[in-house]
Subunit: 278 residues, 2 copies
C-alpha cells in the first residue's frame, strides 16, 4: 500500500522534546558497536522486567531514569493539529475530558472526541534456503535503501493477513506466515509498533511492486546492514541472526528509542530497551 | 483511561456483512465445548501456518475458505462517516486514491487523506502466588463482568508502558511486566488487537479505580469463566491455563473471529483462527 510506506519510519518534521533515558541494566544496545552485526557479541540478550512506579506517572518517565516532565510541546501526534470534527465539521476545543488525563480534541458542536492512537506496521521476515528477502525502496523516506516488506495494518484484516498483503504488494511474493517473531514499539517517533512475522516463500515468483526498485534474496552474511532503511529493520535482522546463532528462534518484544538529536537517517542511533521474551 | 474501556470490545451497532470462514485444519475453537475451560482437552493446540493467495486478494477471504466478496456495506470503521477534514475543515470525498486499493476519505480542499487503522488494546495478566488479578467492570459494555486490566494504547508510550498504566488506572496495582504473552487480533469487530503481557505485583496494594467495581485475586480453579467480559479475555485466560498445564508459558498469536450472527455478549461464540507460536 503506497501511503503506508510513504510515511513508514518518517521522523523528519517531528519535534521530540521528551527525552527517554534508558535503564542501563535492561538495555540491549546496538549503538554502532560493530559494522558487522554478526559480530555483535557484546550485546547482552538478557530478558528483563519493566517496572511501573505510579509516583512517576508520566509516560515519558521510567523507574531507574531521571524523571522527565510531560512536555506540552510534544509534537508527535499533536492533538492541537485537529481543528475540526471529522464527523460533523464543527470546530474543536482542546481540553482534558472528565475522567481522562490527556489533552484531546473535542467537538464544540457534537461533543465527540477525536482520539489518536499508535499505528501497527506489519511485515514479513521471509526465509528461503538460508537467505532472507529484502526490498529496495522506491519511495521516500529512505529511497534506495533496503527493508523488509511491511506497511500499515488496515481495518478488517489481522496482523498476519496485513503482513502477507504488504509482502504481495511490495515484493509480489506469495508467502506462508509461520510464526510471530517480533513486536518493536517506536513510541516517540512516528508512534508506530512493528509486528514482524517469520514467513516462507510458497514459490520463487517474486518481483518488485511499484514501491520497490528491486527485491532480492540475501545470504545471511550478505545482508546490507549499511544500507538498511529503518532502525526497526536493523533490529529485526540482528535479532534474527543472533537467534540463528543460538540455534533457536524466539519471539522478541522491545522498545526502540532513537538517540535524542540524532538524524532520522542514522538508523543505528537508538537503544533497544526493555527487550522481553517469553 | 475511561474512554478506552467504554468502547473496548463493544460490537453493538456494527453491521458485519463480510463472513470469515475458518480453515478447519488450523482452527482452535473454544466454542462452548465445555463450561469449565480447564477441561478443554479437545482443543488441538496445533501450531499452523497462514497462507496468502494473491488470486484471492480480498482481506475477507483466506485460502481454504470459500471466497467472500468485498462488501461495500462493511460498516466497522466505515470511511463514509468521515465527512470533514479534521485539519482544515473542508468537506471530504470518498474515493480510492491513485496507487491504493481502499476507499478513503479525501479532503476536497487540502487533499489530505484521513486514514483509519486498527487500535491496540494493551493489558496485563498479573500472576501472584498461583492466582490472577481480575477487575469487575464499572462501565459499559459488560458492566459487572470480569476482565484483565487493559485499554487503548496512547501515543507516546510503548505497549508495555500502556499495559502498566492501564493496570494502575483500573486496579491501582503497581506491576512489573515480565514477558509478552499474547497478541490477539479481532479484525472484524471493533478493529482491535489485544497485546497482553504477563506481569507480577510489586506489592499487594491494589484497589479498584473508577472503572472497576472490584479487583480480586482468583485462584486458577476459581476464575469466573461464566462471568468474563470479552472473548479476548476468555481466550487469554484459557491459553494461560493450558500453558500452565503443559508446564511452559509461551507467546501466542491468533485471530478471534466472532461467530456470524452471534450476540456480542456471547463471549464463547468465536473461533480462534491461525493460532501461531514461535
Amino acid at each position: 500500500m503506497l501511503k503506508a510506506v510513504q510515511i513508514l519510519g518518517c521522523s523528519s518534521g517531528l519535534t521530540i522534546i521528551s527525552q527517554r533515558l534508558t535503564k542501563s541494566s535492561s538495555t540491549v544496545s546496538f549503538l554502532s558497536k560493530s559494522i558487522n552485526p554478526l559480530k555483535l557479541s557484546t550485546s547482552p540478550r538478557k530478558t528483563t522486567t519493566l517496572c511501573f512506579n505510579p509516583t512517576r506517572m508520566s509516560t515519558s518517565s521510567l523507574p531507574g531514569s531521571d524523571p522527565v516532565p510531560k512536555s506540552p510541546t510534544f509534537v508527535a501526534g499533536d492533538v492541537r493539529k485537529i481543528k475540526f470534527c471529522q464527523w460533523c465539521g464543527g470546530p474543536t476545543k482542546h481540553e482534558i475530558p472528565d475522567g481522562e488525563e490527556k489533552l484531546r480534541a473535542i467537538c464544540t458542536h457534537c461533543s465527540k472526541i477525536a482520539y489518536q492512537n499508535p499505528k501497527m506496521v506489519v511485515g514479513c521476515l521471509i526465509e528461503h534456503e538460508e537467505k532472507v528477502l529484502l526490498c529496495k525502496r522506491n519511495i521516500q523516506p529512505s529511497h534506495g535503501l533496503w527493508t523488509l516488506p511491511a506497511g500499515y495494518l488496515e481495518v478488517g484484516e489481522s496482523a498476519a493477513e496485513g503482513a502477507m498483503r504488504e509482502t504481495w504488494e511490495e515484493a509480489g511474493a506469495t508467502v506462508e506466515v509461520v510464526s510471530p517473531f517480533a513486536q518493536l514499539d517506536i513510541p516517540l517517533i512516528g508512534q508506530q509498533t512493528y509486528v514482524i512475522f517469520l514467513a516462507k516463500l510458497k514459490n520463487l515468483d517474486f518481483a518488485p511492486g511499484p514501491e520497490s526498485l528491486e527485491c532480492r534474496l540475501f545470504a545471511l552474511d550478505e545482508i546490507p546492514f549499511d544500507s538498511l532503511a529503518f532502525s526497526s529493520i536493523y533490529v529485526t535482522l540482528n535479532l534474527y541472526l543472533e537467534d540463528l546463532k543460538k540455534g533457536t528462534l524466539k519471539f522478541h518484544y522491545g522498545t526502540i528509542n532513537k538517540r535524542p538529536g540524532s538524524s532520522p537517517s542514522d538508523i543505528r542511533a537508538f537503544s533497544l530497551d526493555y527487550h522481553l521474551q517469553p
